[in-house]
Amino acid sequence: MSESPEDALVHSLVEEVVDSYHETVTDTERFAFLPRGIEYQREAIRSLSDFIDYAEEIKRDLQIDEEIPGRAANQVLALICMAKAVRHELRMWIRLKEENWESAWTDLVDAQEYASSAIAADSIARYCNVKTYQEKLGSIESSIFPPQQFVSPGLIVNTYECSICGEDYDTCPHLQGIAYNGVICSRILRDIEAREVSFVDDPRDKKARVRGHHVEDGFRNQMTWEIEEDTEGSEHLVDETPDHVDDDEVEDFLRIEAAVMTADDGGDDFSEFREDSEDQSEQNQEM
């Protein structure tokens, strides 16, 4: 059976995005290594941002037309997710050179999450070597960063809202982790009862981690192991012991600071890498 003109148009649109993806990512991935110059890495981020803007526009066109099967938008979404993963990886290398370790970790985790989202979006991700890419990110995590202590909240959720239709997730037709017409369904927590916080080895959210612990002369950063000054108001915490801890146990008592939950989309602002933004930054420095 021959393809209808409408189907042929959709296929050609998706093929255009695929070609543009391969051209952009092949060109930018070669800068995703520590020794590469920051300027090249910034330029690679700009190229990826341009591709993402272009692909988002195509995805919107595909989403609007109800006659078009949702798979076309899902395929474009998978490519966007992979491009975003590489963009976060590039920023991670820049942050490492800037010795901005916490942000570098956040970018690594975002890169890993976007690579996973690409797989969830559509099987086209297989042709982007996503599995090999995930292994590369796993190697970076274990060889560049020190081991992390993760935390996980214990919650009872009375209502989950569907991110696609806004209805109660229990009764709506969408399934979490499945892409529908270019959007991946997730559950939004509503009406929760917090119960406890646990230490875990393998969390879903690797940004939920112990930042450090309080010591006698300050705050020991878990990432750098350096002792930092206590933030205002936190120094008295070291002297306060909970009622259920006996006096002879105080020396074994450790006070930590941790992020228990983090937002999913907090790190997608790459506006600082836009050309006009960099010009403005240089002008400000000259003044």
Binding site: A120, S152, G154, I156, N158, L175, Q176, G177, V200, D205
Partner: protein
Amino acid sequence: MSLEVTEVESVPEYIDQEGIDQDSNIVILPREISVDGSSTRLVDADESSTIQKLLEQEGIAEVEKIDGEGTRAEFGADIALPSLYFALEFILENPDIVVVTFELLAIYYSRRTSGEVSLSILAESDDSKYEFEYEGPAKGLQEIPDKLYDRIEDVEDESVQEEDEEINDGAIEEPSELERE
């Protein structure tokens, strides 16, 4: 990948109390959690609603969920699935549904996670109840029905053998642990 089989106390009475026809349905069970160390509360497992919707959307209407009070949210990289109950009559009368159910779970969770999934299946044999504890890659879920039916056959064979030997103590051998790499 590991699949551990143990003999467990029965849950059919509880399912009956909930008014569910267990012979005609796969039953998604709630989880019991402790509250303040003194009392307990039944809650949905994190994936209970998702599994119910997935199976129903794929044409398996024979699914009933016993609702808990709220849902216990999980934030691990691995996915903990709820306990599923299969009555003997359902297993014997609906082998196609049992096989398709686990294939659907394997396909869906393979897409969701590259980590592991864990799942507990409570199943009846002729005169006992068994709990199958699975932990491993999502793809391995589709091999569970074979183990389920093997176990039922084993028990039936043992029963026949016991009758032949006129041993009438009704005991079944200690559960075995099946482990495969």
